[in-house]
Amino acid sequence: MRRNFKDSAWGNRRPDRKSRGFHRKVRRKGESRNRNACYYLPRDTLSALEISNPSEKFLNTKDVKNLSLLLDKFAPYSKEKGLVNDCHSENPKASGNVLKTLLGEIKVPGEAVSLYKDYFRLYEMFVNSIGAEKEILASRTRLVVGLGDESVYETSIRLLRNYGVPYIPGSALKGITRAWATEMMAELLDGAGGFSGDFYERAGQVQKFLSEGKAGKFPENSEVTPSGEIEEFVNTVGVGNSPRRIAEKLVELFGTTKNRGKAIFLDALPVPPGRGDWHLFEWDIMNPHYGPYYQRGEPPGDWHSPVPVIFLTVKAKTPFLFGVAGEMKETAWELLKLAIENHGVGAKTTLGYGRFNVP
């Protein structure tokens, strides 16, 4: 890494970079002039967007009002460091880092916000009309759903296709509610006959039996006295702490490959702000130090350079509208709330991402 700083392009900028810190969103004026971007787009598209010299102007949400379209189809390519003068010889790259340097803060433009408001109103009406249990809950930590989705960047974030607004798919919410319930069941089965002594193996067994609908494989009685999170779980399911009874209810709620579940987990949409641009994104960084160890199985060593990966997240304190419908909505709703509070949703939940405040 040290060697890189002697590189002329970096050498010039090092003091500046140091003073900025990672979370400073605003690029210094004129700094972008040192960069050059390439766009792999038809010539008439570029001219329609009035891009003749990409080093003077980068496509941003002022030019392309749909953020999802901007990030998918109008990706700027650049060298990670320094200039790109020839788009063919320098192997320019599209990455979170390039995006952050060239575009600065990513926001949802006002025009998209006002259109999204209409959609949100329609969606709210729909949620009310099907009689869902619903509430607006704000995130406690940063949130990123779809980090691993296909994208030209190394990382991604799930956006509504038509509006370019982040959301949490119902499938993710159902998935984490079920995952959290599975973990709680595994806790409850600690020391139970026929189940593994290892927590994770036991969770795997629970998952298998639940998805096959085999509630009969669970014992009538539990050896564990529920406390804390487990107690909350047991109370929410509301059939006592018999693992078999709980399993029966969970199977009914989540369904199996043969039977449909009796709860509908709706997509959670963020509540639109008043007016103007919507500043709900925040850049984030992961900095794996031992790339060759993770990727090629080489021994980890301090001679490996850290490779920062920049990715987009949704800020903490962003309010989302959650909803659950269906015959078993009451139980499902309580379970969902516990899951987004304790387990989190999206990527990096083990690092505390994707947690919500539940009053």
């Binding site: 598209t45 009002k65 749909n66 959609y119 296709r161 798919p169 499938s171 995952a179 579940g261």
Partner: protein
């Protein structure tokens, strides 16, 4: 002959699945064989309507303040109780016959049977009173550099729409516009036009002419209230439309996590195709005279159906219901 032109506006993405396929997309959506346009087959739509109408009938029909569903369930409970007690054999037979009758009633209440036909096990008794046509595409949302997204349609789509409206006996006095290759039509107050051009996905089209007001009026017949399409409608040529509906649907990667490892399960990654939200489809439902059951005339059937759609408003079509997919806002036109 009476008819109903049913508009379906996608509030959440739709997955009217056609089964699995060996391709990049594991679970594709239903498409017309000859055009490749997305479609919801008539039989799928009829099934949706039937099941929703059955629920509606059981919940909305009341006798002395009690819902039909509750009345039937109460009687079933009583029979169960009687069957457990000591009663003569003849009465047992009677009770069992009545029980089957009631169970059938729960599956297919009288009005449902009249409109949609009897359930499969008694399908030969008589036909239903309606013919449900395929739900065809009318407006397909495409991301746009200006105006966020556009409602895209094409001359061929409008031509079919016009023919279907005429078949249903509706007013369809609009001219189907002609669109040149690489050209587009927008309205005078369009949000998606910029300097005489529209940019849809990465494609640039020159604005050639204006969309006739009458086209928008015709679309309004199947468009739920409160949704304005006039500022973002774009009519493109058939080839461009075909490209959009084939290549810009929503493809979502779904994963299943193995709880013992915390990583993706073996075989637990699949790609699923969705018709995006804000898609508008329409279906023509032809209503004939009922041949049996609780309704007498085609007027009565039509009125009942209209009332049902106006009251219910939201239908769920296709797969992934338990994760909130497939909800459409229905408009009886």
């Amino acid at each position: 002959m009476k008819s109903l032109v049913l508009g379906l506006y996608a509030v959440t993405p739709l997955h009217p699945g056609s089964g699995s396929e060996i391709s990049v997309i594991d679970l594709p959506i239903q498409r017309e064989r000859h055009t490749g346009f997305p479609v919801i087959w008539g039989q799928s739509l009829k099934g949706v309507l039937r099941s929703a109408f059955g629920d509606y009938e059981l919940e909305s029909r009341e006798e002395s303040g009690q819902k039909l569903r509750e009345i039937i369930k109460a009687e079933l409970l009583e029979i169960e109780k009687k069957l457990k007690s000591d009663i003569p054999e003849e009465e047992v037979k009677e009770l069992i016959t009545r029980k089957t009758e009631l169970e059938n009633l729960l599956l297919s209440p009288p009005m449902t049977t009249a409109i949609f036909g009897p359930p499969t096990n008694r399908a030969s008794e008589h036909a239903g009173a309606i013919a449900v046509g395929d739900a065809k595409i009318l407006l397909f949302p495409v991301r746009s550099a200006n105006g966020v997204f556009a409602y895209v349609t094409s001359p061929m789509v409008l031509e079919r729409f016009k023919r279907d409206l005429q078949l249903a006996g509706r007013n369809a006095d609009f001219e189907v516009p002609a669109v040149g290759k690489g050209k587009a039509l927008v309205t005078g107050n369009s949000d998606v036009e910029n300097n005489g051009r529209v940019i849809l996905e990465e494609l640039v089209l020159d604005v050639e002419d204006r969309v006739d007001e009458k086209v928008i009026d015709a679309i309004k017949l199947v468009l739920p209230e409160g949704i304005d399409v006039s500022r973002r409608i774009v009519i493109v040529d058939d080839d461009v439309f075909s490209t959009f509906v084939r290549l810009s649907t929503e493809i979502v990667a779904r994963v299943a996590i193995d709880a013992s490892k915390g990583t993706v399960k073996q075989g637990g990654l699949w790609y699923e195709e969705f018709l995006p939200s804000d898609t508008l489809l329409y279906s023509v439902i032809i209503v004939g005279n009922p041949r049996g059951g609780a309704l007498k005339s085609e007027e009565e059937v039509e009125e009942t159906l209209r009332g049902f759609i106006t009251d219910t408003r939201y239908l769920q079509v296709g797969g992934d219901e338990t994760v909130g997919k497939g909800f459409v806002l229905a408009k009886p036109g």
